[in-house]
Every structure is written in structure tokens, then in C-alpha cells.
């Protein structure tokens, strides 16, 4: 039998320091801006944050994260919407094609879609000269796509935007849609990372979620991963599925660890409007686990995976050293990103733009693209306020947290003060951690130090992160 879920906070290594760190923060936010002028923009190659190793493979021309939003884009997301069927919780732009994706009609539809995506890539303008460092094929179920079709998209990307040597090329793959042969074909095309949508290790939970695969498919998928041994692979789980229990969850976590992936994503189920789950269930009410149970599941995941050598580097993501998803980090560090395909959202030149999510509208839109342009749907550039809010909402998802000096450089002393003022309340409650590069600076007061960081604690702070982040939004100066 499974042990009962353990509630409460993980031990806070920083707790004894929190008080003095807080004092230092308050002091420094009162301090003179004069100290700023001498310290230029600081990158975020930190290394001083405990447990925040930035150990993923770095190629020579990887951008400095600190100046992220100003750097040329070096990431691309490609949406491949085809799925055998739509899962009951899914609200992504998806095209269900049935259990047999091999029929000529389906292959033809996929081929036509790939043509559209390639046309879109061709009509895009390359910003800057840096080749792509990361590519992510998301879906849908990208592993339904024949390697030949994927090759065409990669060729378009390579031709148009360039793909750096050593780039991370990720794709989502669902059990039951691939075998070792297909995986090797993807690897031969340059794919370096798979994200396997296992979701659960219980047949009834898979069925209850409307997944197209069985537990046997899951076992085969894991075997295939071991057989082809890609440079990196992730095993993705969903917690809080209907009828799931703490015991089942513990079993899933144990099986996930036993599968020895390099990376684990654990998503707490979000019941979205307009999905079958949205019709059937209400969050926190049976057969969905109660809030208390699902928060306990979150804590279990964090404890189990961290004790198995995975770093909890983002709210829902865990990685062995060197295996963080570089592509997803571009989102959380607010770097620019190209995006192609149905419903895909790009972030270029300060504008977030989402492509049409319906196939006919997307086709029409691609056909309307005139020559080379940066599509942004006529949107204005994001305001500083928008950027500030995104910076907080995204950075606080990361274990690495928010670099206060960098935040102040970008958004000003008043914004920093507001953030520190709000977060200070949460330190005593064990929801926020503070640290500074050297202990001495904590006592010096008044002088801002490079590398001062704040982060939400794992798991307590992250569990109520919306509450904390919305408090920050309220406090930010206009």
C-alpha cells in the first residue's frame, strides 16, 4: 500500500537566512540609485543560486539570458495538430484523424498541412543572423507525422532561419504512435529530444482521460526509448485526473522514476471550458481530487522526483542535470521565439501573436502572407507594464527565480520596490526565498548587489503562485 501523502513544506534550507535577507532587501530598495550607475546590466549566469545549476549544453553562440528580449530570436515552435483523437481534457488546436493515421486521406491531409507550414516559414523574415538554437514540435501528436514530412519542415527551417550545430530539437511523442524504427528516423533528421505523453500508469485513468493509448503502449514506448537512447527524453504525467488517488499517483511517480527518463513533466490537470471534462467535472469536486488531495499530489511529485535526482527547475518540470528543456526556457525567460502552424503563438519584436486556430482560417491567413514579413496581426508592441507582468509571472515559475538587479535595470526602482514590498510578506510564511551572492552583502544594507534573487519556495510557494503573482500585479506602479 502506498504511504499517505505528506503535506506541508519541504525543508527550507534558506529559512534561517530569510530574515536578514529580507532586511537587506528592504534596505537596498530604499538605497540610492547611485549604486546602479556603476553596475551595468547583469547577465544571469548565476551559479550562486543553490540548486540552480545551469548545466544544459551550451553552444558557443547561445544568448545571454539577461538581455534576452533584446536579442535576436533563436527558437522556433512548430505546431503539428494531428491526433488520433482528442483527449477529454484537451483544448489545444487539434485535428483528430482516427486510429489509423496511415490511410492515404490522412497522409494527404498531413502533407497539405506541412505544405502550409513550409509556406509560412518561407514567408517569414529572419530577424538577426543567429541560427536556431532550439526547435520544438508540439501538438497535437507530432509523432504521428511521417519522418519524411518532418524532414521537409526542418529543411524549410534550416534554409530560412538556419539551425545551429548542437541545437535542441524536441518533439512530442505519444505512446502507440511510434516504434524504435520511427524514432531512429527522427533522430537521423536531427531530433535530439522526445517528450513522451505517458500521462498515467493506470489503464483506467488513461481511458478516463480519453487517451488513445493503453498501458501496454506506455511500456512499449519506454522500451523503445531505451532501445534508441536519444540524447534526452522526457516522460510527461498528469496529476489530478478524475478517479485518481494518492496511491495511484505514488505508483505513477515510482514507475516514472523507474523508466529513467532525463526529464519529467508533471502537469496538474486543468479543467478547461468547452472540453468534455469541462462539461462533466468541476475542479476540486469528486471524481476530481479535492484541492487538498491534489496539492498533496503536487508535494508528493516534488519530493519523490527531487529525491530521485531530478531538479525541480520549473513549476511543473523536473530534469536531471543538463537536461532542462532549453526551448521551454526561452518562454520562461521571455526571449523571442518564432512560431509556425495552426494556433501557434510567436513572440517577436515585442509582440505576441497567435495564428488562427481553425484550419480554414489558418490556410487563408498563410495564403494572405505577402512576401517576407514578421506576422504580428497588427498588434501594438507590448507595453512596459505588460513586459513587467510577464517577467514576474514567468520568472517566478523558475527555480532560478527573479534577479532583482536585472529587474530593476529593466523596469526601474519603483517596480523593484513594489515587488520586494509584496514578496517580503511571504518570506515569513515560507512561501518566498531570498538570497544574495555573498553573505556579507546581506548585512551591508543600502547597496544593491548583483545576483540578489527572489523565488517562490518549492513546493509551498509554487502551490499558491497565482495568489502571490496577482498580489504583485496589484502592487506594481502604473
Amino acid at each position: 500500500m502506498a504511504a499517505p501523502p505528506r503535506l506541508g513544506c519541504a525543508p527550507l534550507a534558506l529559512a534561517p537566512r530569510a530574515d536578514s535577507a529580507l532586511r537587506a532587501l528592504r534596505a537596498s530598495s530604499r538605497g540610492q540609485a547611485a549604486s546602479l550607475t556603476s553596475s551595468g546590466p547583469i547577465g544571469d549566469h548565476v551559479g550562486t543560486v543553490p540548486g540552480a545549476e545551469r548545466s544544459q549544453a551550451k553552444s558557443a553562440d547561445e544568448p545571454r539570458l539577461g538581455a534576452a528580449s533584446r536579442d535576436a530570436p533563436a527558437s522556433a515552435y512548430v505546431h503539428l495538430p494531428f491526433c488520433k483523437r482528442r483527449c477529454f481534457y484537451c483544448d489545444f488546436p487539434v485535428r483528430a484523424v482516427g486510429d489509423d493515421a496511415g490511410t492515404p486521406a490522412v497522409q494527404d491531409a498531413m502533407s497539405k498541412y506541412v505544405d502550409l507550414v513550409c509556406a509560412e516559414i518561407d514567408a517569414n523574415v529572419r530577424l538577426g543572423s543567429r541560427p536556431l538554437q532550439t526547435v520544438f514540435f508540439g501538438g497535437g501528436t507530432p509523432s504521428l507525422t511521417a519522418p519524411g514530412l518532418l524532414e521537409r519542415i526542418l529543411a524549410s527551417l534550416r534554409r530560412k532561419l538556419g539551425i545551429a550545430h548542437g541545437a535542441e530539437i524536441s518533439m512530442e511523442a505519444d505512446p502507440g504512435t511510434f516504434d524504435a524504427v520511427k524514432l531512429r528516423a527522427y533522430l537521423d533528421l536531427g531530433v535530439s529530444r522526445f517528450s513522451v505523453g505517458v500521462q498515467a500508469f493506470q489503464e483506467e485513468l488513461l481511458r478516463g482521460g480519453g487517451r488513445s493509448h493503453s498501458l501496454a503502449d506506455v511500456r512499449r514506448a519506454i522500451e523503445d526509448m531505451h532501445a534508441v537512447a536519444p540524447p534526452s527524453w522526457s516522460l510527461d504525467l498528469i496529476s489530478g485526473l478524475p478517479f485518481s488517488t494518492p496511491a495511484a499517483w505514488e505508483e505513477s511517480l515510482r514507475m516514472a522514476v523507474e523508466a529513467q527518463p532525463h526529464h519529467v513533466s508533471v502537469y496538474d490537470l486543468q479543467v478547461e471550458e468547452g472540453t468534455p471534462f469541462g462539461h462533466w467535472y468541476s475542479p476540486g469536486q469528486s471524481p476530481l481530487p479535492s484541492d487538498a488531495t491534489s496539492s498533496a499530489m503536487y508535494v508528493m511529485a516534488s519530493e519523490t522526483l527531487r529525491s530521485s535526482g531530478y531538479e525541480h527547475y520549473e513549476v511543473s518540470n523536473y530534469a536531471k542535470p543538463g537536461h532542462q528543456c532549453r526551448h521551454n526556457l526561452t518562454y520562461w525567460t521571455r526571449r523571442q521565439c518564432y512560431a509556425f502552424g495552426l494556433g501557434a503563438a510567436s513572440y517577436l519584436m515585442g509582440r505576441r501573436f497567435r495564428r488562427p486556430a481553425k484550419m480554414a482560417a489558418y490556410r487563408k491567413w498563410v495564403h494572405s502572407l505577402q512576401g517576407e514579413a514578421v506576422p504580428m496581426g497588427g498588434q501594438p508592441k507590448e507595453s512596459l507594464r505588460d513586459q513587467m507582468e510577464e517577467e514576474l509571472m514567468l520568472r517566478l515559475r523558475l527555480r532560478e527565480g527573479l534577479d532583482l538587479m536585472q529587474f530593476e535595470n529593466e523596469f526601474g526602482a519603483a517596480a523593484r520596490e513594489a515587488v520586494v514590498g509584496v514578496l517580503a510578506h511571504f518570506v515569513d510564511r515560507g512561501l518566498v526565498e531570498v538570497d544574495a551572492p555573498c553573505h556579507k552583502s546581506l548585512l551591508s544594507g543600502g547597496v544593491r548587489q548583483a545576483g540578489e534573487r527572489v523565488r517562490l519556495t518549492d513546493p509551498s510557494g509554487w502551490l499558491v503562485s497565482n495568489d502571490i503573482i496577482s498580489d504583485l500585479f496589484v502592487a506594481l506602479p502604473d
Binding site: 508540439g138 496538474d268 486543468q270 496539492s295 518562454y331 495568489d467
Partner: protein
């Protein structure tokens, strides 16, 4: 929460310049009005007919500047003899088609073109548009050439459509000789219609029954005509059948207005007396008054005096509304128009006041003038204390235009600095709140409205208590008195049971029941006003599937067995949540209120006990459990904008909360008492 309006909580709202007036809903306090017998109606009609004969001829048709025959605005406005003037209002229940009919009259007389109608008159202020109500104009002078070959000036005088503004309605009706009683040919007579008809008859108006929507499948003109005869005592045999929407029967209606409504009395030779029936503040010209000349004549350079406030002014401009302002050289007895005279605030030229000339002052003011009396009070606090000064300025500006609004500073430890404001009723309150928020950009926390209680303390002194938190301690008080009203409801007979149950749950005292027709009944109760301003109307609607209508008027103050119910959140008394309730329902209300608060106060990171107490006795206690999980699991490229919106929404909600101790309390909590259903379900 609106007690006299179901679907749209703010129907009958601010007009062009924000003062409350005209809308499709048409209600007014009926008061304890004597039922007017059919016989009396007939005798009234005879009298009107005689009057009409007497008036024929009117002003001599010599061409005096400003006199009959003078044209303005390229002939769009023509002055006519008094016997060719018709002043009338439209009486209709909400949704029975008043606005559409008014539009049709404007179109058919060529006063407004279809294009203008769309561009200008339907496009009024935000509040109206959003609430789906259209307020076009308050007065429209129409030029109409009748079948008899004569040119008539038809003045449509619109009226406020809500019980809060019954006084204004009565003054508007006093400016008319006739009224169109518009009744939906399927739905029949409603309580508000009835109330306004009584008001019209009291003002001696000639009434033309008009059955609207006759083209709709459910229309049953026969039945409705019988109802008008049975219920109101009006002869409906010559009722007009129209469809305002389809434009059917409008020509016949215009002819009927000319033929059946009496002309004003020709009293042009008397000393000036003009009745102000509406006034609003204009940033450039000061108060603009709309008035009906009852006696004499008024000219642009006249020096005038307002007989009730005693103030004197030099006129800057007079004119008519056609429906845009058109300056004229004279307005004589029987005509309606506007004037501007650099009047600083509406309180100086109130509705109901009489305008006379300084030099040749009339002996007596026109009857019916009343000072406004706030019925409902609530606290208005800026969510951001920095906005206190801005709010003071805004209230001052609103008061320029709203003589019935009263306010004084209120300072509470829980809410900070704000104002205790008095209103004519809940709708009036909502209008002021919305205007403060929209036009002046002030985020408000509003505390639950309270009626005005009187508390008798030792020594027989009576204290006015408009804020439950200020009720003297039990030891100090001898009695609490509360306002009672007379409530008249019209209900299909199948629902009489549930409605009587509702009324008695709300401490109603049965007065009488009467069958209006075979299947409709009028029920009269006397009940405490406090029970009415909560969800009474919502309950009435829901228990009768929307078929009932109601009307009430303030009666008197009566001693009640009342107690102060206090709410504690996280062990602290929250003053603005205090309420005065009847002892017998205190326990039930306390339970319901605590349950409701538990629903509307969002979970926070700690457990929050909520308690209801009478004095030191806790009568109900519950707790909001601590927030366990509030996290967005996924946030990738495609999600960022959407997820940020969610967080922004959450932040916007928090911005509108007041912090009570450690607990963030949203606006809804302060209104919870209104949502608490007392008795019944």
C-alpha cells in the same frame, strides 16, 4: 438587488446629462390613490371637451415676432396658436414599447429622420447602451399637419421610469393635458401602468388607450381592452391598435392625439407661471430647465424668479426641443421649452418649482412642489484612499445636477475615508455609483444600503439612524422605528398563494385582495420598506415566473422588534456589514449571511472564521478553509497571453477588495445582505 426592475437592474437611468429620466419602464409611486370610477372619468372627459371649445381661437393670429406663425430652424419649428398645441406623455410598462412608439411619432412627423434616429438618438450614453435601454430625449416638439389642414405643435414629454423618481413623474405629467396609455396587447395591464394611470388621472389628463404589438401572435386586443375597462375604469372601446415596431396605426394615433387630447387653456394674459419638470446641469450654460408655461409668456431677456427657492436670474436663452435645442423669441401659455440663465446648480432650480417674472410676480406658486427626501443610505468608499479628494469633487459635481443626492464624510476604521450618501431609492443609488466609477474613474466599495430608522432614546428623543453601525446601544434605546410602505401587486391567480407567502415572510400585513379579471388579482400589503429594498422584487418575479408586477409607496414609521446583527470576520467586527433586522428573523438572516459571505470571500492562505453576532451572542459561525492550491500548471508560448489575462483578472478582483484586518473582502461581501433570501426558499 433592484427591487422594482427584474432583468435589467438599472433600467430607467441617467439621461443625456445624467439626470434620471425617461425609459421604457414606467413606474411611479401610486400612493394611497383613490380609485377613479368610470363615472368620474366620463365626467372628466366632458369637462375636457368643454374646455377644448373654450380654448378654440387661442392667441390672435397676428404675426408678432415669436407669436403664432413665426418659424424657426428653417421651418422645422413653427409657432402655433394655443388651440393647436398638444402636450402629452406616454405611459407604458417596461417592454410594452414606449421608446419604439416615441421613435415612430418622431419619424412619422418628420421631426427626426431615420438616419438621425440611428446616429443620434439611439446612441446615448454608455450606461444606457449596456443595459439595453434606449433613452432618446426627454421632450420632443413635433410639427404635425393634421387632416383638418392645420399645423399642430405636439409636445411629447417623457418621464422618468422608476419608482425612485415618482415625484419627477408627477411633475412631468402635471405639464401635460393628455397621455397615451400604451399596453402590450398580449401581456395586459401591469401594476406600474396602473400606478401611472392613477397619477395621470389625478393630474386630470385625458388618456388614450393604445394597444401595442398587435401584430404579434400572442396579441389578444379584446381581452386587454376588457382589462383596461375593468381594471382602470377607462373606456377602451376606442382604443387604438398599433404596432410601433412595424409602424402600423401611427397615422391614426397622431390624428387621435390632435382630436382627442385637449389643447392647453389659453391663459396667456395672466402673470407668468411656468412649471419646471426637469432640469440638468450643463458645463457651459449652467442649469438648463425644461418647463411648461402655465400662465403668461416668457421672453429671452426676462428677469425671472423661482418662487420656492426665491432665487432670481436673468435669462440667457429660451427655446424649444425639436428635439435639438432651437432658440425662440417667446414661449407662451401652453408651450413647453427650456431656458438657461447661468443657474449654478440644480438645487437652485428644482423640479416642481415655479418660474415667474421678477417685475410682475405671480401671487401663488403652482401646487405640488416637494423637497427631495432620501429614502436609502449607503457608504461609498474609494478602494484607493488617494481618490478621496477626487471623490469629494465628483460628488459635488453630481450634486450640481442631482438635487436629491445627499452626502457627508464618513470615516470608519475598517473602510477608511469615504462618504455616507442618501438616495431616493436603490436605482438612484446605482446610477450615482456607476457615474462615479465611469465618468470620474473612481473605484468604489459600496456598503449595503439601509433604510432610515428612527431610534427613540431615553428622554423621548428620536435619533435618525441611516447607518446601522450607529444604532445606539441596547441599554440606551427605548424603541426602534422603521419605515413601512403600502405595496400593491398584480398577480395571476394561480400564484396568489406563493405571493402571499412571500409577503408574510417579509413581515407583510395583509390589506386586501381583489379580482381584476377572471385570472388576475391585485394584492395589497403593508410591509417594512427594509424588506422591500432587498430581493423582494426578484423573489416576486421568481415565484410568479415573471408574471407579477408591483408598486409601493412610503406610508409611515412604526415601532418594530429590531436588533443589530453584527458580522465578525477573523474575529473582528466588520462595521459596514452590520445590519438591523427583526428579532424573529435574526437567526435565519445571520445563518444565511454567514453562508453567503463564505461563498463570496475568496479563500486566502489561512483559515478565516466568519461569525454573526447579536451583542456578545454568536448566532452563526462558519469558516473559509485555507487556500491549498492556486497555480497554473502549464505556461508555454501559446499560453502566456491567456494565462496573464487570468492573473490580471485575479489582480483586478483584488484591487477591488478592502482589507479587513488580514482578510481581503470583495465588494460582493458588502452587498451580501441583499442577496440573502429571507424566508421561503
Amino acid at each position: 438587488m433592484a427591487f422594482a426592475c427584474g432583468a435589467a437592474p438599472l433600467e430607467g437611468t441617467a439621461g443625456v446629462s445624467g439626470r434620471p429620466f425617461c425609459d421604457p419602464d414606467w413606474r411611479a409611486v401610486v400612493g394611497a390613490r383613490a380609485r377613479i370610477s368610470r363615472r368620474r372619468t366620463r365626467s372628466l372627459r366632458r369637462e375636457f371637451a368643454q374646455r377644448l371649445l373654450l380654448c378654440a381661437g387661442g392667441l390672435a393670429a397676428t404675426h408678432v415676432v415669436g407669436g403664432p406663425g413665426t418659424e424657426y430652424a428653417d421651418g422645422a419649428v413653427v409657432k402655433v396658436p394655443v388651440d393647436c398645441i398638444r402636450n402629452f406623455s406616454i405611459i407604458a410598462h417596461i417592454d410594452h414599447g414606449k421608446s419604439t412608439l416615441a421613435d415612430q411619432l418622431l419619424l412619422k412627423t418628420g421631426t427626426v429622420s431615420t438616419r438621425e434616429m440611428q446616429a443620434q438618438f439611439l446612441d446615448t450614453n454608455d450606461i444606457e447602451r449596456e443595459r439595453g435601454i434606449t433613452i432618446k430625449l426627454n421632450t420632443a416638439r413635433m410639427k404635425y399637419k393634421a387632416e383638418d389642414g392645420k399645423v399642430y405643435a405636439l409636445n411629447l414629454i417623457d418621464t422618468p421610469g422608476h419608482v425612485d423618481f415618482s415625484y419627477e413623474v408627477s411633475r412631468s405629467l402635471a405639464a401635460c393635458e393628455g397621455a397615451l396609455l400604451v399596453v402590450d396587447a398580449a401581456q395586459g395591464v401591469e401594476a406600474q401602468t396602473l400606478a401611472n394611470v392613477y397619477l395621470a388621472l389625478e393630474n386630470d389628463l385625458e388618456i388614450i388607450p393604445v394597444l401595442n404589438k398587435i401584430d404579434l401572435p400572442g396579441a389578444d386586443p379584446e381581452r386587454v381592452m376588457k382589462e383596461i375597462e375593468d381594471v382602470i375604469g377607462l373606456d377602451a372601446s376606442d382604443a387604438l391598435l398599433v404596432s410601433a415596431k412595424a409602424g402600423i396605426g401611427i397615422e391614426a394615433l397622431l390624428e387621435a392625439i390632435v382630436k382627442r387630447l385637449p389643447a392647453p387653456k389659453n391663459r396667456v394674459s395672466e402673470r407668468l407661471r411656468a412649471l419646471i419638470y426637469d432640469s440638468y446641469y450643463d458645463d457651459y450654460r449652467g442649469v438648463v430647465c425644461q418647463f411648461r408655461v402655465v400662465d403668461g409668456e416668457i421672453k429671452p431677456k426676462d428677469s425671472i424668479q423661482l418662487m420656492n427657492t426665491g432665487r432670481q436670474y436673468q435669462i440667457d436663452e429660451i427655446g424649444v426641443l425639436a428635439p435639438n435645442q432651437v432658440k425662440v423669441d417667446s414661449l407662451y401659455a401652453g408651450e413647453v421649452g427650456y431656458l438657461a440663465a447661468s443657474i449654478k446648480q440644480v438645487a437652485d432650480a428644482r423640479v416642481g418649482d415655479t418660474i415667474t417674472l421678477t417685475k410682475t410676480r405671480a401671487d401663488e406658486a403652482l401646487p405640488g412642489y416637494k423637497e427631495p427626501q432620501p429614502m436609502v443610505y449607503c457608504g461609498l468608499f474609494p478602494t484607493d484612499s488617494d481618490q478621496y479628494q477626487a471623490m469629494r469633487t465628483a460628488l459635488g459635481k453630481l450634486q450640481l445636477n442631482d438635487a436629491a443626492l445627499s452626502y457627508e464624510p464618513e470615516n470608519s476604521s475598517a473602510m477608511g475615508f469615504g462618504f455616507r450618501c442618501g438616495f431616493l431609492g436603490l436605482l438612484h443609488m446605482e446610477i450615482v455609483q456607476e457615474r462615479l466609477e465611469r465618468e470620474y474613474g473612481i473605484d468604489l466599495i459600496i456598503t449595503a444600503p439601509s433604510v432610515v430608522y428612527r431610534c427613540r432614546v431615553a428622554g423621548g428623543e428620536e435619533r435618525i439612524v441611516s447607518n446601522p453601525a450607529e444604532l445606539p446601544e441596547p441599554v440606551a434605546r427605548e424603541a426602534i422605528l422603521e419605515p413601512f410602505c403600502r405595496m400593491e401587486m398584480i398577480v395571476p391567480k394561480d400564484f396568489v398563494g406563493p405571493v402571499m407567502e412571500l409577503a408574510s415572510d417579509r413581515r407583510g400585513e395583509y390589506q386586501k385582495m381583489q379580482y381584476l379579471t377572471e385570472d388576475r388579482v391585485t394584492l395589497v400589503y403593508i410591509l417594512p420598506l427594509a424588506e422591500v429594498i432587498t430581493d423582494f422584487f426578484d423573489q416576486l418575479k421568481s415565484r410568479t415566473r415573471g408574471y407579477a408586477s408591483m408598486e409601493y409607496s412610503l406610508l409611515d414609521y412604526r415601532v418594530g422588534d429590531l436588533v443589530k446583527l453584527e458580522i465578525k470576520i477573523n474575529q473582528e467586527v466588520v462595521e459596514p456589514l452590520a445590519t438591523i433586522v427583526h428579532k424573529d428573523s435574526a437567526y435565519e438572516v445571520g445563518q444565511a449571511l454567514v453562508t453567503k459571505l463564505k461563498e463570496v470571500i475568496p479563500r486566502q492562505q489561512f483559515r478565516i472564521p466568519i461569525q454573526a453576532a447579536i451583542g456578545s451572542r454568536i448566532i452563526s459561525s462558519q469558516a473559509i478553509s485555507a487556500l491549498r492550491k492556486d497555480v497554473l500548471a502549464k505556461c508555454y508560448g501559446g499560453d502566456i497571453s491567456r494565462k496573464k489575462k487570468l492573473l490580471k483578472k485575479q489582480a483586478a478582483g483584488k484591487k477591488r477588495m478592502k482589507t479587513m484586518g488580514k482578510v481581503q473582502v470583495p465588494q460582493d461581501a458588502f452587498m451580501a445582505i441583499l442577496k440573502v433570501s429571507k424566508g421561503g426558499d
